[in-house]
Symmetry: C2
Subunit: 423 residues, 2 copies
């Protein structure tokens, strides 16, 4: 049953600079697609079932453009380390355990349960190098009604023995098997090519992934210009590239033909940004992770100015929190500190921009997703903010601002993905 | 009944650099005072009632050195503004409403209820200029068993008409009346002198507050070197002072004789810091507020190096969150960004240091408070972290790290203040 009406208080973005809000209005869903928000319900929709959410807020489902599912169960640990030390001390050891399907299943259940409780409706998710575990994660997400992408990770160098694929050929072969099976079994959850990052992927492997991409027409997700130590390492590994992104670009995995999500872009050079802006690259801005791992603050105002496509990422477990509300607050906060401490040329983000990034900005990666405009897929989250008591009569916009800073999972009352109630 | 034993997993600070942790241990409370943590319960305590909290964590109650109670109900609003604009647009208008005792009572009930749900056991709290409302707040806190300080605010210049005391004499007179009544009625909640900040307090008023301090032997709380615009304003108002802190110091309100809490100290000069270190001044570090209002990041590593006494403040509603766990996480995070973006001379805080600031560091202002060492007042919080599911067997220290990043009010199972269970 994916044709119905919701009544409540709506907030969504048509563009980056303003929020559209409607009080006591109606949102029509027809076959999983938005047919618009109306202050008066048109006659032709009056026979549809209408769920009245009263005073509650209804916003587009939030989008997580970058999250590592196998890292979820150790979130909030090792936060006094920087990226490479943190990977070696915590992350790689944990991910190696996903060779064991039983372990993977128990751990992914925790991730998927908590994702369902959150306001996130779509995500681009890293798995591990393991096909079975990654397919299990995809199955769990598919069963719960989530839409999005999951990647089996590729790593054939500079990785600990227990988390290193034996050869580029084997890594590529496993990738093909995984794609074939995923395409047969899943419809809401799709495969995405996932070379972990340049340091762990040989040129030979990247070449093979390029052919796989050509054959299967898949998007790609990876990491870019996150941490100073990492960038220096990439420069050593790829002495002929002028910037980090070239190492993806030369293998066609930088939005050349198929969309790419590049997480972080904290320290991207001007040349790198030109290419990002020109090709089909989405920046996944992960402010919390970039803070936790002392990477820095990406200049999002500059990226907006250049017209770069962007969304937010929780980057669990570099980030400790799955919440994309928290990612909005973090994005606002770090933009202020960057402005105050580093560079007054780029003004802090506004709340409208943070909301846009978390919804329509990231949603673009999935097509018409992340807004309540007509023709958008019907992803919606119903929010109860009554536990945050106030003495004021707040506007919808003010209630949204409070939720950006205060929301937790208990605020999420109902959740729809492509018209299906998944709560 | 304030003599008993708690069993559980303990974590507390003896100093800034290390956490003391004890698993399945016993903490003895005798007449509201800690008698130590024991791995085996000594014979002489075996007859005492023992509350076994099983796997739960028990830590000293958290300390909030700087919070504005009347701002609580609009937290999370207006966060796109800087300090002076935010004060004029939101804060002063709200505080003016506390002239109405009925309004104040309803609003303070929200603040006190939420404070009780939090892990905070002691606080230094700003009220408003209004005696009746401030006494009502003190009464509510006293009734709920909280210990700490509350200040009736003084403002006699540069304030909107509805929030400006008519004259320095009237402000002083009201202050005396308030102190007298508070001292008669309350024992756990004590009055603290609270000139709002130099811009709103004339020299004449400050002189009178100095006499009041001499007469009643009261500590003082105020704001210092928070925001660049504010500091420039103070320099205009006090052209003869070399630094902001001098404007308090010349009236004896800078830890000269009685302890002072100075909130923020984001932009303190070397001369100001020397005086802070020399006299009895506590810095209330408010990282979230300093981020939200684009003030900057206080160099806490430098302050540690100078031996300055410090604790954490939520600074609601410059901060949107009452949680001192969140303040710990924020302190860690902003110290990393300051190091990365501004000054690599001052290394980021470590989790041990954040925990120290939130407990024993701030607790020092109240005497022997903020630790489980023998002789400390018995403030304890019992925490359930089982909702943060993990695949690992975590040490007590790892569980504390996770709570710093993930804790919310639902984790707080029980709370003791000076031996009294207040939950």
């Amino acid at each position: 049953m994916s044709t119905f009406v919701l009544k409540g208080n709506f907030c969504f973005s048509k563009n980056q600079t303003e929020l559209t809000t409607k009080e006591n209005a109606y949102l029509v869903c027809e076959e999983g697609v938005c047919k618009g928000v109306y202050e008066e319900l048109p006659e032709k929709y009056k026979s549809l079932p209408c769920h009245d959410y009263g005073e509650k807020l209804i916003i587009p489902g939030l989008i997580d453009l970058h999250v590592h599912a196998p890292q979820y169960t150790f979130r909030g640990l090792g936060m006094d380390l920087e990226l490479i030390d943190w990977l070696n001390t915590h992350t790689f050891k944990e991910e190696a355990k996903y060779a064991n399907l039983d372990y993977a299943e128990r751990a992914y259940e925790i991730f998927v349960d908590d994702l369902m409780k959150s306001a996130t409706t779509r995500a681009c998710i890293f798995g591990t190098i393991h096909n079975e575990a990654t397919l299990k994660l995809m199955e769990m997400l598919e069963d719960r009604g989530v839409k999005g992408y999951v990647g089996k990770v590729n790593m054939d160098r500079n990785s600990p023995e227990e988390l290193c694929e034996e050869s580029d050929s084997l890594s590529a072969q496993k990738t093909i098997e995984w794609i074939e099976e995923a395409r047969n079994r899943f419809h809401k959850i799709k495969p995405i090519l996932t070379p972990r990052f340049i340091p762990t992927c040989s040129d030979e492997l990247m070449k093979k992934l390029e052919s796989i991409q050509e054959k299967y027409h898949l998007p790609v997700q990876s990491h870019l210009s996150e941490n100073i130590g990492e960038i220096e390492w990439v420069q050593e590994l790829c002495p002929t590239t002028k910037f980090y992104g070239e190492a993806y670009n030369k293998f066609g995995m930088f939005g050349n033909k198929y969309p790419a999500i590049m997480a972080h872009c904290v320290h991207s050079t001007e040349a790198e940004l030109e290419l990002i802006a020109k090709q089909n690259v989405f920046v996944a801005h992960c402010p919390q992770s970039n803070t936790n791992l002392s990477s820095g603050v990406a200049p999002i105002r500059k990226y907006f100015n250049k017209g770069i496509k962007m969304g937010l990422g929780s980057d669990v477990a570099g980030g400790f929190d799955l919440s994309i509300f928290r990612a909005m607050a973090d994005a606002l906060q770090v933009s202020k500190l960057r402005w105050r401490l580093l560079d007054t040329n780029f003004t802090p983000l506004k709340l409208e921009e943070a909301f846009y990034l978390a919804t329509k900005g990231g949603g673009q990666f999935f097509g018409k997703v992340g807004s309540f405009e007509e023709g958008y897929e019907f992803d919606a989250v119903v929010l109860d903010d009554s536990s945050f008591r106030t003495m004021r009569k707040l506007s919808v916009k003010e209630r949204i601002e409070r939720l950006i800073y205060l929301a937790n999972d208990t605020c999420v009352v109902d959740k729809y993905i492509a018209g299906e109630n998944v709560k």
